[in-house]
């Protein structure tokens, strides 16, 4: 009966394979996650062997021992005389356990050291600040003119190290991008650091992993790893201000943006809107998702998000904005220009 219950262990590979590969610790796409995955395989291997051994010993014991009932006289010989065979076996088992534990501890320490030794030359520096419930990212650069800010969706170059400084503006959040590395807490009043590198191109999903309040479940982010030239092109695009070349309706949309609550919280570089309470929207139209990884970025969802955010992400700090049909259409047009 116990063997049947052990079947789930064997379906590990199957179930994990069913899970999406883009937010998955078992599908490492970068060197740090790779090293952790190696340690994982070793540890699970040893632990599985130990588990099987304990179960086998137990099952053997159960099958070999005699049977009894309440009236069977107890065997108290062991109270007077030692049991050398049992002692030897228990000591052997303990010795083997200690030895295996030491192997694991050494492997742990070795992995920790390797994780701290990722080469850092030609790194991209990103300062990520967590908010309730979105991610602000500032790409730093020694040339001040090249610094730019975005939100919720990052691009990084494949093969180059990325050094992320992690901060929080309110409560504790955690940055977790399982395909590329383990997680790191973002603690108000402190600055922490995570160093990772993507070695395979792709778009990976991360999620906040420290309970941070009402919409902790809806605080995801996307990281797209791409070849360096494509990354640089993306970064250049991010540095550009919003275009001033607008059609009539797009201008009307910008007017709506400036006159309604949008301007109170959001920045659009070059437009005059530069509040920092919400995500930077200068290039919002280039993003795949809205509301921190929660909604697909299309016209319909954007309309819903602007007018009824509480329905989509209850508790969000984004206020519902009442707009007439004309105002909304114009605003959507304008937002569509923010590529």
């Amino acid at each position: 009966m116990k063997r049947i219950a052990a079947l789930p262990v064997l379906s590990l590979a199957g179930a994990a394979a069913m899970a999406a590969p883009f937010q998955n610790a078992l599908k490492p796409a970068g060197i740090q996650a790779e090293r952790i995955h190696d340690l994982w395989l070793l540890t699970v291997g040893i632990c599985s062997v130990v588990f099987a051994a304990v179960l086998v010993a137990l099952l053997l014991a159960l099958s070999r021992a005699g049977r009894s009932d309440a009236a069977t006289p107890p065997d108290v010989a062991s109270l007077a005389a030692p049991e050398p065979r049992l002692k030897r076996n228990v000591l052997l088992a303990v010795g083997a356990s200690i030895a295996l534990l030491l192997v694991l501890i050494v492997a742990d320490f070795q992995t920790d050291r390797l994780l701290g030794r990722m080469p850092l030359s030609d790194a991209v520096h990103i300062e990520v600040t967590a908010h309730q419930w979105w991610w602000e990212a500032r790409y730093n650069d020694p040339e001040p003119g090249k610094i730019f800010t975005t939100a919720n969706e990052l691009h990084i170059p494949v093969g180059r190290p990325v050094i992320m400084t992690l901060k929080s503006s309110d409560v504790i959040h955690t940055f977790w991008l399982p395909n590329l590395h383990g997680k790191k807490d973002m603690i108000p009043g402190r600055t922490s650091l995570i160093r990772l590198r993507a070695d395979q191109p792709g778009t990976y999903r991360g999620q906040c992993a420290e309970f941070c309040g009402l919409e902790h479940a809806m605080m995801a982010f996307l990281v797209t790893a791409e070849p360096n030239d494509r990354y640089e092109a993306w970064a250049d695009a991010q540095r550009r201000e919003a275009s001033n070349v607008l059609s009539a309706r797009e201008s009307r949309g910008r007017q709506v943006f400036m006159e309604r609550s949008c301007v109170m919280c959001h920045t659009v570089q070059g437009s005059g809107a530069n509040a920092v309470f919400g995500p930077d929207l200068t290039h919002v139209a280039s993003r795949q998702t809205l509301a921190s990884g929660v909604l697909p970025n299309n016209r319909q969802q954007m309309a819903a998000w602007v007018t009824q955010p509480q329905k989509l992400k209850p508790g969000t700090n984004m206020p519902a904005t009442k707009l007439s049909g004309e105002e909304l259409e114009a605003l959507l047009d304008y937002l569509g220009t923010l590529k």
Binding site: N24, I105, D185
Partner: protein, 639 residues
């Protein structure tokens, strides 16, 4: 094996009747509030903790229904956050530790051959405090002002800026109630175990279960103050503007984590160590032999207790504390596996060389080997900083913690209920229902929690009220929900078994299992004074000694609550004090303390004016009664 010396002549029968009169609780409604017999209080305590267990389970089932499908809207984020906060808080503070103390407060005096616990009125007070704290929390929850910041209430989320209102204050004060209750119980148990053992029960002959209760109680004394301090500082931050956790004014968010986890890690061992004692009791009886390796077993429990205080930072690997510090905690977190391994190997050795009786208690004990071992091994995985950084705060940890707590504590606890129910009630629980109970629980548990390991690795974080479709998490979540339902069904079977067996169960007699420890040497249920003639202890398994119990204690009065106090190491008879009689003041003092605690959620001045009724209550509790004093003084013998 021994036979019981039942009263056979008029003198003994009169003595038994007198003893019953002396030790039983007062009758009527007044008696219900003034009761201090340790068995009465313990049964109430066990029933109350079990009630909280069921409540916590229902909360979990609602969570599982919400998570059964992606993007589900059965409950919203606000209620869901309250659900998991209440589930964790209930299970950790209102069930897991108190139930262990409750069972101990019933069994320990009996196993020691004693008539009572030490400080029986304080024992009653501790129960009332516990009950009132739990009621306060649930009233708050049902009024929609229940806590919602997690059972661990990390700051700054739980601080005044991000958790306005009183929700978190109810949580913090619940901690105060339950920790006070647990601390008092620990003092009671330590005193009882050290000073009230049967003559001849040297420390070397104490049942392994009593060792676990002793060690656990010491751990409580050192661990609980940490969470009391942490939660008090949180209350003052929220109520009167202190800055313990406010980084803007020199406070630190990690101070909370250090204080909380310095308690929180030993806490899980408070939950785990008494069940190790259940395992030893059950395995010995159903293998018909003493547990192999008594000294190793005792040292292993003591080692576990010490090591448990050196692990707490493994809950904080993802923070930015220095890496070298974290490595130390990897080593200690891995090393604590060794004493547990020693215990597991000694039990297997006992089973191997025993003659097995596969009754329900033993089945639950065997369930431990599968579930706890798996949980312990995922614990080794979590001990590694690198691995933990992937699976921390994901469903992998949810899986781990349930494997170790349910496998390591709840399964042995159910085994203990099946084992000792006949002693508590005089009737056996049904065997057939028991086996169904066990298998449904075992299978349901694995169906529910095993997939969670995979969910965590596949990217699902903890404490999320919903998850998107397309992540590949759907099937595993559904399985987890189905398994949860099976667990619920198995608990229902248990309740049915209890209700049926109370009336129609097979009558048990004093020793239905043929066990060897002293609690089985008296009637089922025991008389009010536990033993008509308190036993002298002749060995580790007194009832299995070839000549049984070598002697009984005589010379203790029947007409007052006279008990025997023995010396610490060798249990040589030393004193013959009189235990206090029941009165209403423990109950009333608990009410007064409750008023102060609840009042201080709303105003700091409650600490001042609330102290007055407490002072009155406790003074009247302590103040001796003239008649009783005269009686005692008349038969006093000076040292």
């Amino acid at each position: 094996m021994t036979t019981i010396t039942t009263p056979t002549h008029t003198g003994q029968r009169d003595s038994a009747r007198q003893l019953e009169q002396t030790w039983r609780d007062p009758p009527g409604l007044y008696g219900w509030f003034a009761a201090i017999n340790h068995k009465t209080i313990a049964v109430r305590f066990m029933l109350t903790t079990f009630g909280f267990f069921v409540a916590g389970g229902v909360l979990a089932l609602i969570m599982r229904l919400q998570l059964a499908r992606p993007e589900n809207t059965l409950v919203g984020p606000d209620f869901y956050n309250q659900l998991f906060t209440m589930h964790g808080t209930t299970m950790m503070f209102l069930f897991a530790v108190p139930v262990m103390q409750a069972v101990g407060s019933y069994l320990v005096p009996l196993m020691l051959g004693a008539r009572s616990l030490a400080f029986p009125r304080m024992n009653a007070f501790a129960y009332w405090i516990f009950l009132f704290g739990g009621l306060m929390l649930y009233v708050a929850f049902l009024l929609d002002i229940g806590p919602d910041a997690g059972w661990f209430a990390y700051v700054p989320l739980s601080g005044p800026d991000y958790s306005p209102g009183k929700r978190v204050d109810f949580w913090a004060q619940l901690v105060t109630f339950t920790e006070l209750s647990a601390l008092l119980e620990a003092v009671i148990l330590i005193t009882t175990i050290f000073k009230m053992r049967a003559p001849g029960m040297t420390l070397n002959r104490m049942p392994l279960y009593v060792w676990t209760m002793l060690v656990t109680s010491f751990m409580v004394l050192f661990a609980m103050p940490s969470v009391m301090l942490a939660s008090t500082a949180l209350i003052t931050d929220r109520l009167v503007g202190t800055h313990f956790y406010n980084p803007a004014e020199g406070g630190d968010a990690l101070l909370w984590q250090h204080l909380f986890w310095f308690f929180g890690h030993p806490e899980v061992y408070l939950i785990f160590i008494p069940p190790l004692g259940f395992m030893s009791s059950i395995i010995a009886t159903f293998s018909r032999r003493p547990i192999y390796g008594y000294p190793a077993m005792v040292l292993a429990v003591i080692a576990t207790a010490f090591l448990a205080f050196g692990l707490w930072v493994h809950h904080m690997y993802a923070t930015n504390i220095p890496e070298l510090g974290k490595s130390f905690f990897t080593a200690s977190s891995a090393m604590i596996a060794i004493p547990t391994a020693i215990q597991i190997f000694c039990w297997i050795a006992t089973l191997w060389t025993g003659k097995l009786n596969f009754r329900t208690p033993l089945l639950f004990a065997l369930g431990f080997f599968f579930i706890l071992t798996l949980g312990g091994l995922t614990g080794i995985i979590l001990a590694s900083v690198a691995l933990d950084l992937q699976v921390h705060d994901t469903y992998f940890v949810v899986a781990h913690l349930h494997y170790v707590l349910i496998g390591g504590a709840v399964f042995p606890l159910f085994g203990a209920f099946y084992y000792w129910f006949p002693k508590f009630t005089g009737r056996l629980l049904g065997e057939t229902l028991g086996k169904w109970n066990f298998w449904l629980f075992f299978i349901g548990f694995n169906v529910s929690f095993f997939p969670m390991h995979l969910l965590g690795l596949a990217g699902m974080p903890r404490r999320v009220w919903t998850y998107p479709a397309g992540m590949g998490w759907d099937q595993m979540n559904l399985a987890a929900t189905v398994g949860g339902m099976m667990i619920g069904a198995s608990v229902l079977l248990f309740i049915i078994n209890v209700l049926r067996s109370r009336r129609h169960g097979v009558p048990a007699g004093p020793n239905p299992w043929g066990a060897g420890t002293l609690e089985w040497g008296t009637d089922s249920p025991p008389p009010a004074g536990n033993f008509v003639a308190p036993p002298v202890c002749g060995g580790r398994y007194p009832l299995w000694e070839p000549d049984g119990v070598p002697a009984h204690v005589t010379g203790l009065a029947d007409d007052r609550r006279e008990i025997l106090v023995t010396t610490l190491m060798d249990a040589v008879p030393d004193l013959r004090p009189v235990m206090p009689s029941p009165n209403i003041w423990p109950f009333l003092s608990a009410v007064a303390v409750t008023i102060l605690f609840v009042g201080s959620i709303f105003t700091p001045w409650a600490v001042v004016w609330g102290a007055v009724p407490i002072a009155i209550g406790m003074t009247l509790w302590f103040w001796p009664r003239s008649r009783e004093t005269r009686k005692n003084a008349a038969s006093e013998v000076h040292p």
